[in-house]
Subunit: 527 residues, 2 copies
C-alpha cells in the first residue's frame, strides 16, 4: 500500500452520530454512491455487533462495485477463549469480505483498566487475531485505538502494539485519535516519533472533539500517512469524525493531487445525498460543499467579485460541483439586487433608481417579517413579476377552510377551497394527510381540469422553521416548499404565525410558478 487511499466509515462510525440511524436499504444506497464517487474502502459495519449489520453484509455480497472494497470491522479476539469460538471473529470471516479492520488497544490504561488484562496479554490478542485472519485469507487493517493518548501515557508500549500488528501481517497501521483530544502540534510530533522507529505504512483516523480533525488528517498526510479515514460530512459520535468532504477538496486543490479514482466534482452532491439519507440537516456553511460556501452577501465583496472571482474565493466552486451565489439581503446594496434580478432573467435596462429603491424597501420589510428569499427564488421572481411586469396569475384565490377532526390516534383533515379560474368560480373539497396536504390536494384538483400540465408538477420538499420558538405554539413559522416538474425545481416561501396560512402562501406561489413556467415554455394546453 503505497499510494494514498481513502477509507470511509460513514456506515459504521458515522452511524454512531446522535440522531443517525441507517436501515440496511439506506446502507446499500450509500455504498453505491460512495463506489460511484470512487472511495477505496467502505467500512460497512460490525457484523458481530447487531443483526442489521449482519444482514447488510449478506445483502452486499451480490452487489457489483466498480472500485470500492467493503470492509468489516471488529475488535481483537476476546481474552480467554479460543479464537475459533469467538463469535465476532467468526461473523467477520463469514461476512464474505476480503478486507477487515481490527481495532486493538494501544493505551496501557485501557488494557489494565477496561480489558483488565496484562500488557503482554493484550499484545498476544493483537498478534493472534491478525494471524488468524490472514490464515483465513483476509487482508487486515489495524486500528490502533487511542493511539495518541496511549503514546502520551506509555510511548514504548504504544509503539509495541504497532510493531506486533505489523509483524503479524497487518498491511496498514491506523493511528486513531479515538477521543478526538489531539491538537495539531502534538499530533504531528507523535507521528514524527512513530516514523523514526517504524517503516510500516500508516493511516490516520481522527475525531473532531477539538475541532481540528481536518487539520490533523492533513498534517498526517504531510507526514507520510497513506490512508485517511473519515466520514462524509464528518458525521459520527459526539463531535463526529474527520470530514472527507473537507479533506478531499484540500488534497485536490491545495496539495494538487490528481486523485484520479475520485469524482471530486461529485462531492457536493455526495454530501447532500448522505445528509438526506442520514436525515441530518446539511450545513449551509460547510467548507467546499455547503450552499453558503461560495455565497456572497456584502455589497462591497459582490462588486469586487464581479471584477475578479479570485479576489474573494480561495478555490473555484465548480471543481466540487458547487456554485457561487449572490444573496439578496438587507445588507446588500444596489449591485447585489441588480445581479440577482439579472440572474433571474429580468431585463433591467428601463429600471429607474426609484424602482430599485422601492423594491429594496419592500424586500427589507418582508425580511423583517421573517421572509428569506435566499432560498426561495421562485417567490422572489413572482414578487417581481407581480409588481413590475405585465403579468397576471392564471387563477385567483378567494377563500379556504380546513377542518381537522381527531378520533383517538388519528386525525383527518379536509380542505374546502374557493378559486376563480378563467372567470369561473371553483368550489372544491379534498382530504389529506394533515391540513397542508389537504390544501395541496384541493388546489391540484381545482386546477387540473383547467391546466392539465399541472399533472407533472410534484411537491418534493416541505420544510417548517419556527422563527421565534420561545413564544411556544404562538410562534411565527416560515414554510419553504420545493416543487419540480420534469425539467426543473423551484422553491417558494410563506410566513405567518399560523402554519396553515404560511403553508398556503408557499403552496399558492408554487402552483402559480408551475403555471408560469408551463406558459413560458408553451406546454400550457388551451384546455
Amino acid at each position: 500500500m503505497k499510494s494514498l487511499t481513502f477509507y470511509d466509515t460513514t456506515l459504521r462510525d458515522g452511524a454512531q452520530g446522535e440522531g443517525v440511524s441507517f436501515t440496511v436499504d439506506d446502507k446499500i444506497k450509500i455504498v453505491k454512491k460512495l463506489d460511484d464517487f470512487g472511495i477505496d474502502y467502505i467500512e460497512g459495519g460490525w457484523p458481530g455487533s447487531n443483526p442489521k449489520d449482519e444482514e447488510f453484509f449478506a445483502a452486499i455480497r451480490d452487489l457489483k462495485l466498480k472500485h470500492s472494497k467493503i470492509v468489516a470491522f471488529s475488535s481483537t479476539k476476546r481474552y480467554g477463549i479460543d479464537i475459533k469460538d469467538d463469535l465476532n471473529i467468526k461473523k467477520m470471516i463469514d461476512s464474505g469480505v476480503d478486507t477487515v479492520a481490527i481495532f486493538g488497544k494501544s493505551w496501557d490504561f485501557h488494557v489494565t483498566d477496561v480489558l483488565k488484562i496484562s500488557l503482554d496479554e493484550n499484545l498476544a490478542l493483537i498478534e493472534d487475531t491478525i494471524k488468524y485472519l490472514l490464515e483465513n485469507n483476509m487482508q487486515v487493517i489495524f486500528d490502533a485505538e487511542h493511539f495518541f493518548d496511549g503514546f502520551a501515557s506509555n510511548p514504548t508500549y504504544a509503539l509495541e502494539t504497532l510493531k506486533v500488528a505489523y509483524e503479524a501481517g497487518a498491511e496498514v497501521l491506523v493511528l486513531c485519535d479515538t477521543n478526538g483530544g489531539q491538537l495539531p502540534t502534538q499530533l504531528a510530533s507523535t507521528i514524527g516519533k512513530v516514523k523514526e522507529s517504524l517503516t510500516a505504512p500508516l493511516g490516520i483516523h481522527a475525531h473532531n472533539d477539538s475541532d481540528v480533525a481536518v487539520a490533523n488528517s492533513l498534517l498526517a498526510y504531510e507526514l507520510g500517512a497513506v490512508q485517511i479515514q473519515g466520514t462524509i460530512g464528518g458525521i459520527g459520535e459526539r463531535c463526529g469524525n474527520a470530514d472527507l468532504a473537507s479533506i478531499i477538496p484540500a488534497l485536490k486543490t491545495k496539495y494538487k493531487l490528481e486523485l484520479s479514482n475520485l469524482n471530486v466534482n461529485k462531492i457536493t452532491s455526495l454530501y447532500y445525498y448522505i445528509m438526506e439519507v442520514a436525515n441530518l440537516v446539511p450545513e449551509n456553511n460547510h467548507p467546499y460543499v455547503g450552499s453558503s460556501a461560495f455565497t456572497h452577501k456584502a455589497g462591497m465583496h459582490v462588486n469586487a467579485l464581479q471584477k475578479n472571482s479570485e479576489t474573494y474565493e480561495h478555490v473555484s466552486p465548480q471543481i466540487f460541483g458547487n456554485k457561487r451565489r449572490i444573496l439578496v439581503s438587507e445588507l446588500s446594496g444596489k449591485s447585489n439586487l441588480k445581479y440577482k434580478l439579472q440572474e433571474l432573467g429580468f431585463d433591467l435596462s428601463n429600471f429607474t433608481k426609484e424602482e430599485y429603491r422601492s423594491l429594496a424597501t419592500k424586500i427589507k420589510d418582508m425580511e423583517y417579517q421573517g421572509y428569506q428569499f435566499e432560498g426561495a427564488e421562485a417567490s422572489l421572481k413572482l414578487l417581481f413579476l407581480r409588481e413590475y411586469e405585465d403579468y397576471h396569475s392564471l387563477f385567483g384565490v378567494e377563500d379556504f377552510k380546513i377542518i381537522s377532526h381527531n378520533f383517538g390516534k388519528k386525525t383527518d383533515s379536509e380542505a374546502v377551497v374557493k378559486l376563480k379560474v378563467k372567470g369561473e368560480s371553483v368550489h372544491i373539497v379534498a382530504e389529506g394527510d394533515g391540513p397542508v396536504n389537504a390544501l395541496d390536494n384541493a388546489l391540484r384538483k381545482a386546477l387540473l381540469s383547467f391546466f392539465p400540465s399541472i399533472d407533472v408538477m410534484k411537491l418534493i420538499d416541505y420544510k417548517v422553521r419556527v422563527l421565534n420558538g420561545k413564544d411556544g405554539t404562538a410562534a411565527k413559522v416560515r414554510v419553504l416548499i420545493e416543487s419540480s416538474n420534469t425539467e426543473q425545481s423551484w422553491t417558494t416561501i410563506g410566513v405567518s404565525t399560523n402554519i396553515i396560512q404560511a403553508s398556503w402562501q408557499a403552496l399558492i406561489d408554487s402552483f402559480e410558478y408551475a403555471l408560469y413556467l408551463a406558459k413560458n415554455n408553451g406546454s400550457l394546453s388551451a384546455n
Copy 2:
C-alpha cells in the same frame, strides 16, 4: 498589548453569515452576554456602512460594561479625498468608542485590481488613516486584509503594509486570512517569517473556508499571536469565522491558560444564546459546547465510561458548563437503558429481564416510526410511568376538532376539545394563532379550573422537523415542545403524518407531565 486578548466579531463579521440578521436590540443583548462572559473586545459594527450600525453605536454609549471594549470597524480612508471629508472615518470618530479596527489592503493584486491605485498610494492610505485616528484619541487595531494571500504574492509589500501600520501607531497588527484558504503548515511558515522581520504584537483573524480556522488560530497563538479574533459558534460569511467556542476551551484545558477574565463555564450557555438570537440551529456536534459533544451511544463505550470517564472523554464537560449524556437508541444495549432509567429516577431493583426486553422493543419500534427520545425525556418518562408504575393521568382525552378559516391574508383557527377530568366531561372551545396554539389554549382553559397550578406552566419552544421532506406535504413530521414551570423545563414529542396530530401528542404529554410534577412536589391544589 502583551497578554492574550479575545476579539469577538459576531456582530460584524458574524452578521455577514447567510440567514443571520441582528436587530439593534439583538446586538445590545449580545454585547451584554459577551461582556458578562468576559470577552476583551467586541466589534460592534461598521458605523459608516448602514443606519442600523450607526443606531447601535448611539444606543450602546450609555451602557455600562464590566470588562469589554466596544470597537468600531471601517476601511482605510478613500483615495483622493481629504480624510476630514471621509464619511466612514467621520462616523467612526462620532460613534463614541475609543478603540477602532481599520482594515487595509495587504495583497498587491487587490491594490492594483480592486482599488486601482499604486502600491505606494495604498501605503499612504494606511499611514494617513491610522495617524488621523490617533490624533482623534483612538486606539487603533490594524486588520491586514488578505495578508496571507498577499504574502504569497508579494512578501516584501505585504510586510511593508504591516510596518507602515505599526510605525503610524497601530497597537496590534492582525493577520487576516480573509478568503479562508490557508492550511496550517503554510500559515505557520508565513507567521514565522513575519516574526523574523517584525517585533510588533500580532493578531490572527481566520476564516473557515478550508475547515481549519480553529487549528490555524491555535497555531498562531503558539507562534506568539497576542490577539485572537473570531465569532461565537463560528458564524460568519460563507463558511464562517474562527470559532471562539472551540478556541477558548482548547486554550483553557489543553494549553492550561488561566484566562481569569473569562467565565469559561458559561461558554455552553453563551453559544446557545447567540445561536438563538441569530436564529440559527445550534450544532449538536459542536466541540465542547454541543449537546452531543459528550454524548455516548454505543453500549461498549457506556460500559467503559461508567468505569472511568477519562477513557472516552478528552476533557470534562463541566468545565464548559456542558454535561455528559447517555442516549437511549437502537444501538444501545441493556446497560444504556438501565443508566437512562436510573438517571430519570426510577428504581429498577425489581425490573426483570423480560421487562427490559419488552421496553427496549417498544422504544426501538417507536424510533422506527420517527420518535427520538434523546431530546424528549419527559415523554420517555411518561411512557415508562404508563407501562410500569402505578400511575394514572389526571385527565383523559376524548376527541378534538379544529376549524381553520382563511379570509384573504389572515387565517383564524378554532379548536374544540373534549376531555374527561375527575369524572366530569369537559367540552371546551378556544381560538389561537394557528391550529396548535388554539389546541394549547383550549387544553389550558379546560384544565385550569381543575388544576390552578397549571397557570405557571408555559410553552417555551415549539419545533417542527419534517422527517421525509421528499414526500412533500404528505411527509411525516416530528414535533418537539419544550415547556417550563417556575423551577424546571421539560420536552415532549409527537410524530405523525398530520402535523396537528403530532403537535397534539406532544401537547398532551406536556400538560400531563406538568401535572405529574405538580402532584409530586405537592403544589397540586385539591381544587
